[in-house]
């Protein structure tokens, strides 16, 4: 004979609760928070650098850097004169809401429009951990091939935007950008897609224009609070 206790609780409920608290804080301060995800080496940090460079003086941006080891990225980003907090996960394959919550203590929300969270390079685990962000942006470099949206569907399903980066390498890698887009939209039909090269600067104007508009879209719930 056996007894069954019905539970029906999410395994990630603790993370989700902290993410909800983070989100409430962001909304209260009218802060746009974006979680940038990709595989290692897709160009998240370089895209971030180009974005910071172009929007300097137009938006007040802070950055949280997530890496398994080193503060190399934080040092790169700090050169642009923005507040930056490095999270070292010591082997952890993704950022969790609690890690971001602790990092927030080191940022002054009253003087910020946008917070960019650069997640650990990994196309699997970060997809399922809500940090409290308004949206996820997935960066995919052309060298990774056309099939990645199909192979890592959770990430492309949970992201709102896809940035196809390193388009300058297309002539050398024999990848079809239209096939990347087709595969990505098969997983997520409403995905907003940009094509960029951080080396030549191609596509960065469109990307930055859109990015700047996002910060204006979050209602400033309590700018005076």
């Amino acid at each position: 004979m056996s007894e069954v206790i019905t539970i029906e609780r999410k395994v990630l409920e603790k993370n989700d609760a902290i993410a909800a608290a983070n989100r409430a804080r962001f909304l209260a301060h009218g802060l746009t928070v974006i979680n940038i995800v990709s595989s290692p080496g897709a160009g998240k940090t370089t895209l971030l650098e180009r974005t910071l460079d172009r929007l300097h003086g137009r938006l007040r941006i802070a950055v949280i850097e997530g890496d398994v080891q080193t503060d190399l990225d934080a040092r790169r980003v700090a050169r642009y004169g923005v507040p930056v907090v490095q999270i070292v996960t010591n082997g952890g394959c993704h950022l969790e809401a609690s890690l971001v919550q602790h990092a927030l203590d080191r940022l002054d929300f009253d003087h910020l429009d946008v917070l960019l969270i650069e997640n650990v390079g990994n196309l699997v685990c970060p997809a399922n951990y809500d940090l409290g962000e308004a949206m996820k942006i997935v960066v995919l470099s052309t060298t990774e091939g056309e099939d990645k949206p199909l192979k890592y569907p959770a990430m492309f399903r949970n992201a709102s935007v896809l940035v196809i980066n390193k388009t300058d390498l297309l002539p050398y890698v024999g990848v079809d950008v239209e096939a990347i887009k087709r595969n990505a939209r098969q997983i997520h039909p409403d995905l907003i897609i940009f094509e960029t090269s951080c080396t030549t600067g191609a596509g960065l104007d469109d990307w930055c224009r859109w990015f700047e508009q996002q910060s204006a879209r979050v209602p400033c719930a309590s700018a005076s609070a």
Binding site: M1, S2, K10, V11, C125, A154
Partner: protein
């Protein structure tokens, strides 16, 4: 890659429902794992069996229901009936 942390979350949830004195009666913990949950079910079951060693819950194992979607949910716990 993060199945060990998830296994710990599952054991935490079990602890909230089953008092320590009945811990050894827990036979299985049924978990629904979606194909978009980013979880390797075998790895999750292995991690769970590893973390219960030397705890009062060491007779418990994970039973995994494979589902479609992003679900990752503890469904129920099966305990051996108390002998009167």
């Amino acid at each position: 890659m993060h199945e060990l942390g998830l296994a710990n979350n599952i054991l935490d949830i079990v602890r909230q429902y089953v008092p320590a004195e009945r811990a050894c009666a827990v036979r299985s913990v049924r978990v629904r794992v979606g194909d978009l949950a980013g979880v390797v079910p075998d790895s999750l079951a292995f991690c769970f069996s590893a973390i219960v060693i030397d705890t009062p819950y060491d007779r418990a194992s994970l039973a995994i229901d494979h589902v479609v979607g992003p679900d990752l949910q503890v469904a129920d716990i099966e305990l051996e009936e108390e002998t009167p």
